[in-house]
Symmetry: D2
Subunit: 285 residues, 4 copies
């Protein structure tokens, strides 16, 4: 194991074929461009970056270099969400009509931190925006966001419901907040033929029944425990797409789209009105 202070030193190492970028969000594009120019494949954490300008520059560099770029939407590799996706793709739920995505974490937001990472929508909900597209197999047409601040002294919203109208007609809700009971990560997809819904994963299934009721253990506390397997799988998929020269399972298009939805949600919240994705996505093209 070698370590480097400067990512360019790492990129200069001919033994390196591919890199994982887990730096602050507003450095992702710059490092991606450096990696692309060095001919290294890139796995970057979400978001691709924080402006369309930087994202599009990164995408251009990736295409020019002919490298693979995979974005870290790890939840696609969670067995629960994948099962919903697979039921959708196989036709078991029919045409998708309604999708509910619940995504709450156990950590109250720190004000400075959420601002630094782009606010609730770009930092946290972005995973759910990708999930909405992944589960309904559609792009987003319009976005409406309402939010509230539940924590004293935090000026940023920390609780939100985002409603999406998808291009294929499906209607989606995403809710985000912070819990006292661990990581709350669920999805329900309802269509013309049926519905598929996931439950939270728990450390064990034992149910205790005593004179006061039946009691089950809390869900896994946070992403490290809940999504451990998905992190392993997304990297395996990244390695496989390099080895077999396949398209990455999460593309730059997916990465840019999720940022666009986050921008639309932010504008919807700021202006208290539904926002068509084209209003926002049009900014950068």
């Amino acid at each position: 194991v070698k370590s480097f202070v400067d990512h360019n030193a790492l990129l200069a190492d001919p033994a390196v074929d591919a890199v994982v970028i887990a730096s602050p969000p507003d450095t992702h594009a710059a490092i991606t461009i450096d990696a692309a120019n060095a001919g290294k494949h890139v796995f970057t954490e979400k978001p691709v970056d924080m402006t369309f300008e930087k994202i599009d520059a990164a995408i251009a560099a990736v295409e020019r270099a002919g490298i693979k770029l995979q974005v870290g939407f790890n939840r696609r590799f969670d067995a629960n969400f994948k099962a919903v996706h697979d039921a959708m793709v196989s036709g078991k739920v029919g045409q998708p009509l309604i999708c509910h995505i619940t995504s709450r974490d156990p950590i109250p937001p720190s004000l400075s931190n959420t601002r630094a990472v782009g606010g609730l929508f770009l930092d946290m909900t972005i995973h759910d925006f990708d999930m909405a597209c992944y589960l309904t197999q559609s792009d987003v047409e319009s976005v409406y966001a309402i939010a509230a601040t539940m924590l004293e002294g935090c000026g940023e919203p920390d609780t939100a419901i985002v409603t999406l109208r998808m291009a294929n007609g499906a209607l989606v809700t995403i809710d985000n907040s912070h819990t006292t009971f661990g990581y709350d990560q669920r999805a329900e997809l309802f269509g013309t033929l049926g519905m598929i819904a996931t439950s939270n994963e728990k450390p064990h299934s034992a149910l205790l029944t005593d004179a006061s009721g039946s009691h089950a253990v809390l869900p896994w506390h946070f992403f490290i425990e809940r999504y451990a397997e998905s992190y392993r799988r997304e990297l395996e998929a990244f390695v496989e797409c390099i080895h077999r020269d396949l398209e990455p399972p999460v593309t730059t298009t997916d990465g840019r789209r999720a940022v666009a939805i986050a921008f639309a949600a932010q504008r919807s919240y700021d202006e208290s009105r539904p926002v068509h994705l084209i209003e926002v996505a049009g900014q950068a093209t």
Copy 2:
């Protein structure tokens, strides 16, 4: 058992203390006024009526006559929704932040019928509007509705998501549609201390596991089966509020409020924008 062709003949019977109105929606207010004038207590099915003018005339007659009027929001008497309400009132979920209400029925809408009864929001969602207020213990501040038409040849929307911002800060989603799998009636309330969620009631709990998976029976097919007990309980409560001279558990205020939210949802859908309840409720006061 006696039967009457004209409700006024029934109202003239001195042996009658109270009446149940289950006639078409746009006749509720007129019959309520006749009953009030005859000094009979009234239990009316929802909605109280289809315009504020008629509703307010009915309320005035009820107050003038000093009779009891209870509106048929039977779901408040369902043990599942009552348990959510009770957890909220007792403080177990803390301050309410997010509430999801799912209300789907197994019967595809007939176009003529839904128009005659005021459309999806006034006919079907009105139960959920009352439920939103009942579960979060708050009035509504603003409404945003998106909807889609899933059935061929039906011009009216039959699938909708309505988002409510409650006066106490809670954010609510309601979704309505039509299922292939029976009556889908659930609620989830999430707050600063915890979450409480219901599941669908089923005819039995037997779970069959065979080589293809684990299989459970469908939920109760429709309202007659699912809400049988709640219909019994709401009428018991009506009788009790007469006998003991109590305020009815569902008041004219509740009945009028739910209609106002339905009007706001309809306007939001028609105008593709969030609507403040005051825009609509102001019409009639």
Copy 3:
């Protein structure tokens, strides 16, 4: 509604077609015989009586009179157990291999009472013996019972496991005890093709998740609540079998068989050895 101090006065009433016997167990046969002689159909609570001699006399009287006799094994009419039975009969579980019946009630036994009613096996487990035959669709070949006394000062066993080898090869366990958490009434049937299992019925499905875990309400407290519907259905079935001149859904053969299994379980417990049903059933034929 008329009431009688003496059952013979009731039986003399020509307006009476059928009677329900819910008197102490050791009076069932005598009253059944009186009713049969009066030409009245009989629904009797379990057990048919407490000795083979009296039971066989009652059966003979019933056959002589050509009346219907139905025994109160109400659990066959519970939707949960019926679903297990129906899956068995329809072939969904294949050949039955293993069946677990759990039957625990919330009331600690009173010593005098359990002795008066024939002890744990004849009073309480008798329902489970009928259930074992009903669910596996077989007679019993041999019985092994172990038991324990959990309550101070009660000389009678109050906690037991009875193991049955059925004539068709299925192996059954029945467990009885007394709970702190209400009525615990479940069955699981496992066969060559699959398994079907029931859960306890509860007053509502609401699940509260807070910082300490997820919490569900207790099951229904006791038989009045849990089996209310089954009591209604068994009497409907009794009336129907009279009206349509059908064989009762629970016959005298079923009633006598369950008593025989109880006797075998008692002997197994007393002698600490497996007992073949023929050892006991042979007593009376």
Copy 4:
């Protein structure tokens, strides 16, 4: 990584501190003795061996050498069974009264194989015998086994119910068979204060509801998937007990006890009567 054809060559390697024995059952004791004589700590798969004579010789060698010996009862390290055990030890279920252990696997037994490994009780049920002691925190007093042969052409029993009376008064059932639906591994412990029960672990939680019912995925197929984590944890515990000089979490006493219960179950089945453990355990002391 080095490999050896002869275990004695491995034992001669001074770099080796400890060994894992996963050879055929009737070689465990001999290899354990060789390892003990070489001063290597031993982790051996169950059973310790197939006769008391060999087991006791191995135990003597282990004690003489002062090495650690841990037996591979991995299920103690499964989070589900551990939660039941922990609830028992912490007093949450009160005094244990009834315990049901279900242990069914998806692989039909091959006749030659089950005979070679000692039959159903010594090969398969032995895990459940250890679990019965672990969950009720007690030794066994007496054993009663009934069994059946469900598979054509297989002379050995493949479906069994073993009933145990524990020294502390708890009554236990164990059932074994072979399923069409994967690995069925559950436990329920009922006591004077409450009950704790586990469910099968599944690859994901997604529940599909369509017009035919609600459908969940099968449990993990077999031990490799279901118990993967427990295998990791038992070896971690083994390494830790060496490093910190602790008693192994599964001792030679545990290993010998489970074999004794298996012998008693076999005798009970062969002789169709309950067998006191002392009848069997007395053989070898």
